[in-house]
Symmetry: C2
Subunit: 356 residues, 2 copies
Amino acid sequence: KQYRVAVIPGDGIGREVVPAALRVLAAAAKRFSFALATSDFDFASCDYYDKHGSMMPADWEKQLRPFDAIFFGAVGDPRRMPDHVSLWGSLLQMRRTFDLYCNLRGTRLIPGVPCPLRDPGKIDMVIVRENTEGEYTEMGGKLFHDTDREMVVQETVMTRQGVDRILEYAFTLAASRPAKHLTSATKSNGIALTMPYWDSRVAAMSARFPDVRVDSMHIDALCAAFVSRPASFDVVVGSNLFGDILSDLAPALTGSLGLAASGNIDPTRRSPSVFEAVHGSALDIAGKNVANPVGQIEAGALMLRHLGEEAAADAISKAVDAVLGRGDAAELTRDLGGKGSTTSLAEAVEKELLSA
Amino acid sequence: KQYRVAVIPGDGIGREVVPAALRVLAAAAKRFSFALATSDFDFASCDYYDKHGSMMPADWEKQLRPFDAIFFGAVGDPRRMPDHVSLWGSLLQMRRTFDLYCNLRGTRLIPGVPCPLRDPGKIDMVIVRENTEGEYTEMGGKLFHDTDREMVVQETVMTRQGVDRILEYAFTLAASRPAKHLTSATKSNGIALTMPYWDSRVAAMSARFPDVRVDSMHIDALCAAFVSRPASFDVVVGSNLFGDILSDLAPALTGSLGLAASGNIDPTRRSPSVFEAVHGSALDIAGKNVANPVGQIEAGALMLRHLGEEAAADAISKAVDAVLGRGDAAELTRDLGGKGSTTSLAEAVEKELLSA
Ligand SMILES: CC(C)[C@H](C(=O)O)[C@@H](O)C(=O)O
Ligand SMILES: CC(C)[C@H](C(=O)O)[C@@H](O)C(=O)O
């Protein structure tokens, strides 16, 4: 079996963690007898922008569509351009054009990674985020430019199709898990139109999944409950913005934000899904071989799971846990209190994977 | 000196913590030689709605405007009506009509209150939230009702006047504090119009306050940083929604969400400001004399500070700290591991205040 993977390192530490993670993926392919045919792309980076005046070539969609998946590093360099230029010209374009409507991030306690909470309990949750509409739009405009009356209006858009398909995904996922518990993030007490609509679609979908226990919580109270009782959550579903916030907050609470991965998924499989580490381009530590590659490695595991190589995905996560759990300073990167490098940590995972 | 205070207990535990807190305020008035002339109002409650078909009478503004401040309990009863009905008909009306554009909440570690973080450091921050515009609007609408093409659009509105005045308040506050550090919550990498506008106004205001060090952080990363380095924040300013989220998250991180207070303030003093506990109506424990009154008592301290009675406000907070710090189970409510009641805790604070 062979999978075609488009590799986009992007900016900053993306250029270091992506090659490091590819080593681990190659080892997994060897052990589990499949092949990854990778092709590198230099676009979706600020370097590309400097040379060509845009983040991606006009025919980027045509170039990327034939692939089975896209392995994405990190993009953005605020010293050269505002993030909304670099992001809307790359990752956010892919989410929209490929209709990658589901953003998926799992969070659990990781052995050897210090948790900032005194008494976390058994945290093991998945955040399902709507990834194409909602609060992230370019609709709206400005009036009375450069006067005291200046105002900006921006529109949030929720469609029945957009809301229902992400809710269906989240309900289906919750139904497949032992706890069968779904929490919906809302703010219908303040945001008077879109959020009550979201709530009404949750109620409608709930009727189709009688086995799933559903809670609805306002985003402010929900963030607070993530802190006070994180182990009580199973699957959590939110709009584009709320899902974004929750999927950074959850790994922060387990101390694993630098190690988290995210999938931008088209569950219909009409387009290639995009897998990325959550951490961003981290320019302050770029080029030093010190960045932690675990987030990118876990993005690789998520990608293999999506491609159907579940055993390989599990083996990678197990190898990561084993290496982090034994806490050998020579292997670990500095953020984990080690003396190693991006390369040493990736090599340790690779070795662990091949020796298992 | 005499202050006229409108008292609105509202729903649920509001009816218990408000009278409890008023005892403490009366004691403060006695000790610091001022008078509080209070008048009770039964509106802004779901009981009132049941009787009259609206949350407040038509002339509510005329009734409340003469007061120097409004002491507000909690409103909402989801068993009887959705929160957006009860809230838009009461508290959110007051914020808009009285133009209470500044929502203020301080968060610090409180002696005797267990902090969920392993290593919190010295948390002492103030969240300044825009309280009248932004994401909380009723502007927008629905199209293609009840069909597959159904969609809802909701508008976020930022005006130069609205953004600049809250930023000016936040910069002024930051400039008055030792750390002189302001963090601005944004999401300009995803929300393409309003958030870049917010950022540009922050940059413009920053030029007028050269002493204040300003950081801009995306709301997702900011929530994560609240967890990983809470003691590094001083004043944090955000839009209506972002401020709402951060001002629940911050007290959750110190374990003091049930004890937090908030001021809805008109810094121009043209209208009466509204002071409330953060906790909400908590109907599950209402009517049992078990609710913790500290949030409402601290709301009273905030109110006295706003009225110019700084010494009395400080004395109340000191008395609260003393009572919570000594941890006498007979005085404390159950949420703090005690065996006392709403009344016993308020009485303990009252006694401490008068004996100091
Ligand atoms: C009750 C609700 C509308 C309100 C808000 O979001 O403003 C509350 O969460 C608050 O922060 O005072
Ligand atoms: C970079 C940014 C636009 C992006 C988002 O908010 O979607 C990021 O925070 C993420 O979650 O992938």
